[in-house]
Amino acid sequence: MKRALIFGLIGCAGCIMLALNASGAGGPKPEPPPKATTIAELAERYDSSRCADCHEEIYDEWEESLHARSVLGSPRTAPTIITTIEKGLKLFPYSGVKSDDDITVEHLMLCAKCHLPQLDEATDDVAREIVATIRGWQQAYRDGDDDKAEELEETIESLNIGCMVCHNKIALIHKYADGYPQPDTVYGGQEGDHDDDEYSLMAEAPAIGESIFCGQCHGQGPNFELEHPSQCATAYGSYLFAYVAHGGSESCQECHMYKSELGHNMQSYRDDSMIEMALDVKVESQSLFWRKNKEEGVVPIGVIDVSMYNKSGHAIPDG
């Protein structure tokens, strides 16, 4: 009891110092931006291509990642959103969704909370336009109309977790302490002027280098704050309660951005360097005559023992 108390006090002192060091990042809560009324408008607001002019390497890395197509996915995400509507929303008696016309931003937030957090800056028309676009894309595929499929796929890809989602919208987590992200500022590790016309300032996001930053979307379990809690990614929960709890100390960024040398191209099982970092597998074998039972008698068997040590920062696989 006493020991826990002392550790508790030391921990607190650390917290206070951290909080003091990282001040002045955000500001008062700004007026919410006007709601985007079309996909094009929402995509334009979060367009990352401008950043490529000066951050070319980072842009190229990001473009390879699933963050750059977070609604399309591998491309399994967009079809699963349709399944959610058909097998979920339309069959649930109290969802209010009988046809696609009934779909609102709130409904899509079951997924968009993490796959497209900026959807909260759009009207319900945009939610319906997204659904119609995914359906059109699937239909074009079925019809073998490659040009149309490609065009619609590009529209779906224009909605993504771009630079300004991470470096502005969700950059500051503890807003009472650190303030709200300001519309003219990019948040990272530095303070000062920033060369971009629209985002003319840089400021510090105290937690952007910490696991909690990724944890905002990488899930702990059911999303209880939603009217109908969805559950998708749980890697952050596993990280906290299985990895850190058993002595793990590396951050998401350390493994996924730095040790992997992939930077903004955060990857997993599709990537050789991530596979290399995932498991230590050992195979041991033994052969023997095994007196199994009366009926089968003595059986000559080889016993293969495979041990798999997970050296990543969470369960494999996730979800």
Binding site: G73, S74, R76, T77, T80, T83, T84, K87, G88, L110, C111, G221, P222, H228, P229, S230, Q231, C232, A233, T234, S238, Y239, A242, Y243, H246, G248, Y269, R270, I275, A278, L279, V281, V283, S285, S287, L288, F289, G297, V298, V299, P300, I301, G302, V303, I304, D305, V306, S307, M308, Y309, N310, K311, S312, G313, H314, A315, I316, P317, D318, G319
Partner: protein, 88 residues
């Protein structure tokens, strides 16, 4: 990942590999043998005393071998059972 995200409720059965932990799987493979009749007695004879085993660990992202599976580990091994053993 992403399977039934609108209807899952917590982790009901955990079959993943936990971090910082070893998980063991054992496989028993019988050597080919035959029960032969000799002098009115049945004797069991080993037909092959070597086995070539390939251990492959696949990551199966969408739960099926649908072309998206990825090989995480592969090892070939020859095991043998060359000891003397009189079957009774």
């Amino acid at each position: 990942m992403g399977r039934g995200p609108y209807e899952k409720s917590g982790i009901l059965r955990e079959t993943s590999l936990a971090p910082l932990k070893s998980t063991h799987e054992t496989f028993e493979i019988a050597y080919p043998f035959e029960d032969v009749e000799k002098d009115g007695k049945t004797r069991r004879e080993l037909l092959k005393d070597e086995l070539n085993v390939t251990v492959t660990l696949y990551y199966v992202p969408f739960g099926e071998f649908d072309g998206n599976e990825v090989v995480f580990f592969e090892e070939e091994k020859t095991i043998d059972l060359k000891t003397e053993w009189i079957w009774r």
